[in-house]
Symmetry: C2
Subunit: 417 residues, 2 copies
């Protein structure tokens, strides 16, 4: 693999690291994190920087009706399905510098290395930044990859609004209006393979002192929205027995759910990350509470059993209030095909980089691409497993090694028709 | 009391009721309630309406540096301390049509009746609308009456900001700039007596089928703000054992507090009406939670014991998080003097209106006036005891009878020097 050696030797740790720091300046928070939410002005600026970096390499930029951005490195056979690699550049409101960005910048780095090594694969390679992976501004997340897969309806996604009442439609229009030189393309097309590089967002690689995670699959996830409706009343006068306090009920419900979801093995992931009470005034008995439930488990049967128990548990603890439990999504656990996992593992072995197989506890755009084409993921460690946090941190050398494995993997997958 | 009979006969049920409906149009909500928060544009409009109604009666309007509005009906002795009556016209964000407004409109009604009966008392009578009783936009509530009493510092109150960052100072300036014909006056002056008419905001009068409550006193209230600080993390990857989930901790804390504050007699009033979590995203483990505690009890010793237990209970349940419990206010239970209560009761007896003594479970501006002058309160029923709610409802006849008792009470208190 002397040609591949040439490509991998062109990977620059310094360039890759400095691009992470530059990208992190767009939406930088005082605490050292990043607030660059989906389809925001910050994301527009970040996309322009990506296009600017890709321009000297001759990459051809495209975007589709949801704003997914593709940077195409042409192969020998223009008509062959391309190989895709990438991730996302939107962040949580108090996100970090590496979640998502690494996958996109590593993708850019490997085509820059191919360009430097004058390596032209059989198939074209496209570096992709999927729209709205995080779902914090516009729900649901992984919007761009879900639409690419054809799982959701474009019109209903364009109607989604953020808390300020701004729609996905007008936000995508603003993004695309800012990119007059990016060609338009329809959503979804045949793909030969997809490989996403990402930080682990968990503690396992660090604890096992491994540099590369060959991702075996993605644990399943179910998302619920619970609405508890009580009755507003005066905090000083209404007797407890007559109250319909939506927060008292919600606390009872959440206590019961915490107990029911507790497993000694600590594999179940149960999170209430969103909760809003109304009217939210100190001297008014709350009339309503809305909260989210994010439930994950690598075993689909366990995930199904636990998730199915949630509506009944809530009903048992609704007290004097009325209740609505709505399931927003139900994604089963999935396993990536060995045809991709084996290539990643082989490259790691050949490059003599410590690696291990492990499942992804987090969801990724690769979840949707799995249903489009042979798909895989490459993980690198992040400090303390901390992610979705401004303190998220990675080592430049780990990112470099992740990009080297990605380069070898994509080069092999793309250099055959 | 033939002169008093003449005054009381001038009280108009129709005028009083129609003014309630007119005032409720300012800030009216689709659900039939009122959103007219302190020092808002809506309150400015409502104040102008009050001044407009008072003008044909020759009332002289004043306001002070916090925006308390006084409408003076001059008595025979201009130098004698006036008798004050009134309440407030600000509301909760989803408030009703009668809370506060009744006390101000009943005050206006009784001087209109005195004017109609050509009754000029020994002392002047002033109808007052206190600034920011509710405390929902600017904390703390009862701001105007507390400053009148001299309990708080004007400069620090003027610096208080609402969620949009607008200060009390700029809001008061806007209110007073809109009232060029209202004379300026310094905060706080000697007062002969204060009587506040108000809806009960509780179910007792209705349950006992009484029309008038002779208020014996106000139950004490302690207010706390609890901050739970955990650590943001990824909902899919971080193991439960490593999480510092501020909401899980808060649920544990609130469960423990609900148990500790539970009394079989249902006298303790424990309310968490305000709760905010951060960053409030479905797939992010919450890093922090802020919540309020509103604790009330008519017995000061019990109130002290329960309130003193709160910081320790929170500490016991803080789990892996850090904790701050701050007491924002501590108002002991108080009893109104018989010198005022007896007059109210005597008038109710003479008018043959069903009445009873009862304590106020809610706080009122009368709490602060109690420390300035002999003070009392007159309650009228509200449907189902429901208040701080858009569904708040009263009978026109009850308001009429409340105003009649108020007229007799104020006329007696003002007609002696």
């Amino acid at each position: 693999m002397s040609l591949l050696d040439n490509v991998i030797n062109e990977i620059s740790q310094e360039r890759l690291w400095s691009r992470h720091l530059q990208l992190a300046e767009i939406g930088a928070t005082p605490a050292g994190g990043v607030n660059r939410q989906a389809l925001s002005r910050e994301e527009i600026t970040a996309r322009q920087l990506l296009v600017q970096w890709s321009s000297p390499l001759g990459l051809i930029p495209y975007s589709d009706a949801i704003g997914n951005l593709f940077l195409r490195y042409p192969g020998k056979h223009a008509e062959a399905e391309p190989v895709l690699t990438g991730s996302h550049i939107d962040t949580q409101p108090t996100g970090g510098r590496f979640d998502g960005s690494f996958g996109v910048l590593a993708g850019l780095e490997i085509v820059e290395a191919m360009h430097g090594a004058q390596f032209k694969p059989e198939r074209s390679i496209e570096v992709v930044a999927w729209t709205n992976e995080e779902g914090s501004r516009f729900a649901p997340g992984m919007m761009g990859s879900a639409l690419f897969r054809g799982q959701r309806d474009l019109e209903s996604m364009l109607k989604v609004e953020d808390l300020a009442g701004i729609s996905v439609r007008e936000s995508v229009e603003a993004v695309r209006a800012a990119e007059p030189n990016v060609a338009s393309r329809s959503i979804g097309f045949p793909v030969a393979a997809y490989v996403e590089a990402h930080i682990e967002q968990g503690p396992i690689l660090e604890m096992q002192q491994k540099i590369i995670g060959v991702v075996s699959g993605i644990q399943g996830k179910r998302v619920f929205r619970v609405t508890v409706q009580g009755e507003e009343n005066h905090a000083g006068t209404s007797p407890r027995a007559l109250r319909k306090d939506a927060l008292v009920t919600s606390v009872d419900m959440l206590s019961a759910l915490h107990i029911a979801m507790h497993d000694a093995e600590d594999i179940v992931k149960f999170t209430v990350g969103f909760l809003e009470i109304s009217p939210n005034a100190p001297s008014v008995v709350p009339s309503s509470v809305h909260f989210s439930i994010d439930l994950r488990h690598p075993d689909s049967a366990t995930l199904n059993a636990l998730g199915d128990a949630i509506p009944g548990l809530c009903e048992q603890h609704r007290g004097p209030c009325t209740l609505q439990v709505k399931e927003l999504s139900n994604d089963p656990s999935l396993e990536f095909p060995s045809v991709v996992r084996d290539v990643i593992r082989d490259v790691a072995v050949e490059l003599d980089i410590d690696h291990m197989d492990l499942p992804s506890a987090a969801g990724h755009d690769a979840r949707h691409l799995h249903y489009v084409c042979p798909t895989g993921m490459i993980f690198v460690p992040c400090a303390g497993g901390i992610s979705h946090n401004e303190a998220e941190s990675c080592k430049a050398e780990d990112l470099f090694n992740g990009a080297r494995v990605l380069a070898g993997t994509i080069a092999r997958l793309a250099d055959r028709v």
